[in-house]
Amino acid sequence: MKKLLYVSLLCGLALTTISAITETENESVLTSNFTVGNPEIASINSISFGPEGILFVGDSKNATLYALDTKDTEQLEKGTALNMIDFDTKVAGSLGTTADQVKITDMAVNPISKKVYLSVHTNDGTPVLLRLNGEKLENVSLKNINHSKLALNNPVATDKKDRRGRSQRKWAIADLKYHNGTVMLSGLSNKEFSSIFRSIPFPFTKAQDYASLEIWHAAHGRFETYAPIKAFDVISMNNKEYLLASYTCTPLVLFPMEDLKAGKHLKGRTVAELGSGNAPIDMISFKKDGKPFFVMSNTNRSVMRFDYDVIANFKETLTETVDEFAVAKGVPYVSLPMVNVLQLDNLDADTVVYLQRSADGDLVLRTRPTKWM
């Protein structure tokens, strides 16, 4: 009888141990330093997905980067085809207000679930995070969510001065991307004429690198140290990774990723000048018939498609001035028949999703196969 008792106790102990081990294994390393609660997000200016359904949120008002564990990790191969007209009215209705009282500040697709996430500001700046489930809008609560966050520090030297009484610099976050364990972020100052570019390891530690990116601007043949980066992406060419940055005056500039080091002042290689009177909005990459491309949406131009191979083979750096108004120089691109595209992202391997202002003023959320891109 005693033996039976010992055996039972031993089995119980073994089962408990196995179960504890399994639980530990299930807990992700990436979210191990996350806490559940209210991250106190003041604004959502840019969003981008990382691994395991983690959504990165750039908050200009708090000058903080957040990582939110959406728990949205059910794998789907295909996203839902969408054609939602009067989309801003639908979003506004879900917030109990009218379309003129809301602004969609960014859009990102969870690469695992293929669900579309939208950040929205109301008239008084209240930030809201919405998710599309099919065509149904859902609220992603920002009040009680598993998260971690990191304040965007100033460069060390300036920080020291700030502790002595100067006000902290504020940066309007312009773009945000996750790549291979790093969150990259660009921002503009609302005071001095400059921009920042940060490379932040994830999971967050206290470390954050900053680099000042200098470009040789093709359109004026002069150093353009302070032109602010608007949109960027990471592309891989000939087994080497590059940051492809697009500036507000629309030059496309390549920076080798391996050269992006803390405090380093880099000179990028301008590969294209895309004409004046235009600002980039979003950049994404996709494969079509096995061939890599990237596309860029713009404020005053149609969506542009670039061929990776053409960029890779474009060895020049544009240094001559571009004389003719709005004429693009450098790497050639294809203008796609898509205008007024305000947000753009990959829905799945073969589809993109975009938010477009139609000719009659309606805001439409649509999907489009990459074969038609």
Binding site: A42, N45, A92, K103, D124, E138, R166, G221, S276, A326
Partner: protein
């Protein structure tokens, strides 16, 4: 006989009417479709949630802004027959909402319209002077209350070239506008592409402002604040354009009126030219000879050409240092280290002698 028949008929009608009235009252009393006691709960002017009595399942209840098709997102809490609905953002002031059970409207309520006691106004526009350099880089607009965060600021700012009698556009449109944290200070850049020599916009469209011309910037009263209330009036800022500023600000050219020992009179720094109104107040610090920070307040006067520093404690005799961060800019975006528009063909174009902090000193006897 006719009279008796008529009386009986009237009696029957009366009985029917009484029965009808009771039926109506009874049926109303038992009509559980209608939510009762709708209460809107406010915090300040924000209508945070609404409570009502209903025995319906919350999964069949939806709230709508009247006339809209999309149900409002929010949370329900139910305790017995009392239901609380909390939308994810507060209900909008002055709007009417419907409560629907399945497809049927079972109740409505309106949110109080909010009328502020003081209208929002523009408290400052920088540069505050009327005369600006041809290569003016930015302007600041300061509001008395937080402004709305949805519409583009440039929808409410009109620029008129008075000299040529034409409307014009001088500011750069940015997707993410440059506001301070409270959304009370807006920074607008005059299109840098048009200011920088030889950029395509500079070559094709020319400078945003032209020397010798007068411009009028009108800020429309239809611009609303965060509470949807309009500005108190249209604001007009006149600008007279002088020649380009192609020199860096230099602390060596500033002059100091040294205060008297034992007093709290301000130290007066004359800056030789108007500087960036926001940066001038944030880039300077004063240290005593022991390298301790002197506490006090800065104030810009004389159209951003003079800076006053008033100490908290009376001045003591000794040497003082004013440290100025190099990011301090003049009106043309030239900072202490470099010009905004660098001419690479110039001899001193590549000047690597950049100091992050510039200093000047004064002595109190």
């Amino acid at each position: 006989m006719d009279v008796i028949f008529r009386d009986i008929f009237i009696k029957k009608i009366r009985i029917f009417l009484i029965f009808f009235c009771f039926s109506v009252i009874y049926s109303c009393k038992n009509n559980t479709d209608l939510p009762l006691d709708i209460t809107i709960n406010y915090e300040g002017t924000d209508a945070l949630n609404v409570t009502f009595v209903s025995n319906k399942a919350t999964k069949d209840l939806n709230f709508f802004l009247q006339g809209m098709q999309e149900p409002i997102l929010g949370d329900f809490e139910k305790a017995n027959d009392k239901i609380l609905f909390r939308p994810i953002v507060p209900f909008s002031n002055g709007k009417t909402y419907d409560i629907k059970y399945l497809e049927k409207t079972i109740g409505s309520f309106s949110i109080n319209a909010y009328t502020p006691t003081n209208a929002t106004l523009i408290s400052a526009i920088y540069p505050s002077r009327d005369t600006v350099p041809e290569n003016l880089l930015k302007m600041y607009f300061v509001f008395s209350k937080p402004m709305q965060e949805v519409q583009s600021a440039l929808d409410y700012i009109e620029v008129f070239n008075v000299t040529d009698s034409i409307s014009t556009s001088i500011f750069l449109e940015l997707q993410n506008e440059l506001w301070n944290e409270n959304h009370t200070e807006l920074t607008l850049w005059l299109d840098p592409g048009r200011i920088k020599t030889d950029l395509i916009p500079n070559r094709t469209q020319g400078l945003p402002l032209e020397e010798g011309k007068q411009y009028q910037i009108r800020i429309l009263s239809s611009w609303t604040d965060a509470q949807n209330n309009k500005l108190d009036k249209d604001y007009i800022k006149n600008i007279y354009v002088a020649k380009k500023d192609r020199t860096k600000p230099s602390v060596d050219q500033w002059s100091i009126i040294v205060p008297t020992s034992g007093t709290n009179t301000p130290m007066i720094l004359t800056l030789n030219e108007p500087l960036d109104a926001m940066l001038a107040l944030e880039t300077m610090l004063i240290y005593n000879q022991n390298k301790e920070l002197v506490k006090g307040t800065f104030e810009l006067t004389q159209y951003e050409e003079q800076l006053l520093f008033t100490p908290v404690e009376p001045w003591k005799p000794g040497l003082y240092h004013i440290s100025v961060t190099s990011i301090l800019e003049d009106l043309a975006g030239n900072n202490l280290n470099h010009l905004f528009d660098v001419d690479l063909t110039a001899k001193d174009a590549v000047n690597n002698h950049h100091s992050e902090v510039h200093e000047l000193s004064f002595k109190i006897r």
